[in-house]
Amino acid sequence: MSTRITIPIGPQHPLLKEPLSFMITVEGERVVDSALRLGYVHRGIERLCQTKTYVQNLHLFERVCGICSHVHTTAYCQGVEALLGLEVPLRGLYLRTLLCELERVHSHLLWLGVLGENIGFQTIFMYAWRDREIALDIMEELSGGRVTHSGNVIGGVRIDVGDAQFSSIVSRLNDLEQRVEKLLGVIQHERTLRVRTQGIGYLSPEEIRRYCVVGPVARASGVDVDLRRDCKYAAYGRLHVNVALAHEGDVWARTLVRAREAIESLRLCRQLLVGLPEGPTRVRAPRRVPPGEVVSRAEAPRGELLYYIRSDGSDKPARVKIRTPTLTSLITVHDQLEGVETADVSVVLSGIDLCIACVDR
């Protein structure tokens, strides 16, 4: 059969949790071309933030993404603090890092669930999201919000861990770790899941470098980058981060990397809680920021997140540029899709962990 059909995937499609448009041209069941269109959830945040104060922007940037909200404010606060020359108390840094790591666990589990749903593996979806609830509960208990935590402020954090919470959180983290280990076992051994994800969406290390891909997608192809270890922002300088790597470069390897990362994050969480230093959690920050510019990077669950902040001395930023990690992986989708079966389009798309609200901003 050589007739070509164009299948629209999006802006509304059960596969996509957020709007984005792929026009996929297929020949029989094989994909021959794809065209990407973004901007369906473009909110103009980069322009809007110029009209709001640094404090208000904190909450604006938290809403760039609905999954990795905390790491956005972390990168932003880090940048503004550097411009102000503020020294954040150690306890504040630890708590900030704690939320970052919990968020990574929650994001990776959410992603695993979405992958399960997209390959028709309902049970994985249910189990992953059930277990993710534990991470969400802890975050909600700490900050009052499930995904928009409002945990960060310029100069520290607004949350604190009391002695009463400490032991309960640690025991729940242990429980969660066992559950994630179990999910990892499913990923490693379950036949149908492997059959569906292995060998799909292959990216070579050279392609990763050429397309400047970051995060778990890069690590699954054997490119060893992790800003938590390489950049040592927040409290990561005091932790030892084991970077999860895989060399297969397919969707299965990405699954594996993310599950291992979630386990590593839980280990880091416990380490952070045990080593939590005493002291204040924040310092007061002035409202006006001296002129200057700063590039702040952080490792979001999906990879390198970059904030460029330029201040003109007023209480509003002159320019904030946000580069979210998903944008880098989206560039590779065209290459990954070429020659795959129509049925595997969903696997490829879930493999890169789409976060379209992040991409569009």
Binding site: I5, T6, I7, P8, H13, P14, L15, E29, G116, E117, N118, I119, G120, F121, Q122, T123, I124, M126, Y127, R130, E190, R191, T192, L193, V195, R196, E341, T342, A343, D344, V345, S346
Partner: protein, 312 residues
């Protein structure tokens, strides 16, 4: 006159439409509940399938422009009619409505009509997803149908009769087909999952790939009829398997026949539910591979073994 009334009652009440409708709703609920419990969820209340169905019946019926409304309306009716007709020849709980030598063939033929209607439904509405789903359903049909037919041949060969009632009776007197031919039973189960397009073989209606497959453009009453025909087909398929492999309603005396039959049917349903939460959806080429490289040779082996057993 009385004959006509009895025939009408058979057709409309038991084991016809009303009974099968009730069974379909019950089975759909049990299926959803079991799946929910296996996944750690609460699951729906008992009336949920019925409520869903009534809601669909009440919804506005929309078709894309340029499609033939009559064809689109006829296809789900055809599908439903085929499975309802098939059900007449299947003994339920010791009750045999109609039986003749060779009714197994008729039932198998009638059960292979709905997939064709399903495929045509995809082509009649003509959306991109519908057409791809239709093509897939046909491909899938070729993969599971042959092993399924061959698997169902072996109990017939073993009992020396092509009548479902006869096979069931013979088995309840001697030994269950599933015990003599476990391989045949498993093959028939796999074939049934493929026939019912249940997970993990829900390839033609894979949500994340092609929305709802051939049914994407259907809505309202027509969609409700499609759903009903699929749910009734589940019931009929399970009844068929219970008769062909589990000895039907069993030896009289031990337990009342309807209860034995119900327990066996629920057991098969449970297996289907567990299978649907155990696996990820396969790709169509993987299913074709499975069907032709694994299931079909195994089914042949099964038949050869049955013939050999019968000869000795």
């Amino acid at each position: 006159m009385a004959d006509l009334l009895v025939a009408l009652a058979k057709l409309l009440l038991f084991p016809g439409f009303a009974f099968l409708f009730a069974c379909a709703m019950l089975f759909a609920w049990i299926d959803r509940l079991v799946i929910a419990r296996l996944q750690g969820r609460v699951g729906p209340p008992w009336f949920q399938p019925l409520a869903d169905w009534i809601k669909l019946m009440a919804k506005e019926d929309i078709l894309p422009t340029g499609t033939n409304g009559w064809v689109c309306a006829a296809l789900p009716v055809l599908s439903l009619a085929a499975v309802l007709t098939a059900s007449i020849y299947i003994p339920v709980g010791g009750w045999i409505a109609h039986a003749f030598e060779g009714d197994l063939i008729v039932v198998l033929f009638l059960l292979s009509l709905p997939p064709l209607a399903y495929f045509l439904g995809g082509w009649a509405t003509g959306g991109v997803y519908s057409v791809i789903g239709g093509n897939r359903s046909l491909l899938q049909y070729f993969s599971y149908e042959v092993p399924f037919l061959m698997a169902l041949c072996s109990p017939a060969i073993l009992s020396g009769s092509w009548s479902i009632a006869e096979i069931a009776a013979r088995q309840s007197e001697t030994i269950w087909g599933a015990l003599v031919q476990p391989l045949g039973f498993i093959l028939a189960l796999v074939g049934l999952i493929g026939k019912l397009k249940r997970a993990p073989f829900d390839i033609p209606k894979a949500k994340s790939e092609i929305v709802a497959g051939p049914l994407t453009e259907f809505s309202g009453r027509k969609l409700a009829l499609w759903h009903l025909s699929i749910e009734v087909k589940t019931v009929v398929g399970i009844f068929l398997l219970v008769n062909a492999f589990l000895g039907g309603s069993g030896v009289s005396g031990l337990l009342p026949a309807p209860i034995t039959f119900a327990i066996k049917s629920l057991l098969v349903l449970l297996i289907l539910s567990v299978a649907s939460v155990l696996y990820a959806r396969l790709r169509i080429d993987q299913l074709a591979n499975l069907g032709w490289r694994v299931l079909a040779p195994l089914a042949l082996l099964q038949i050869a073994a049955t013939v050999w057993i019968g000869a000795t």
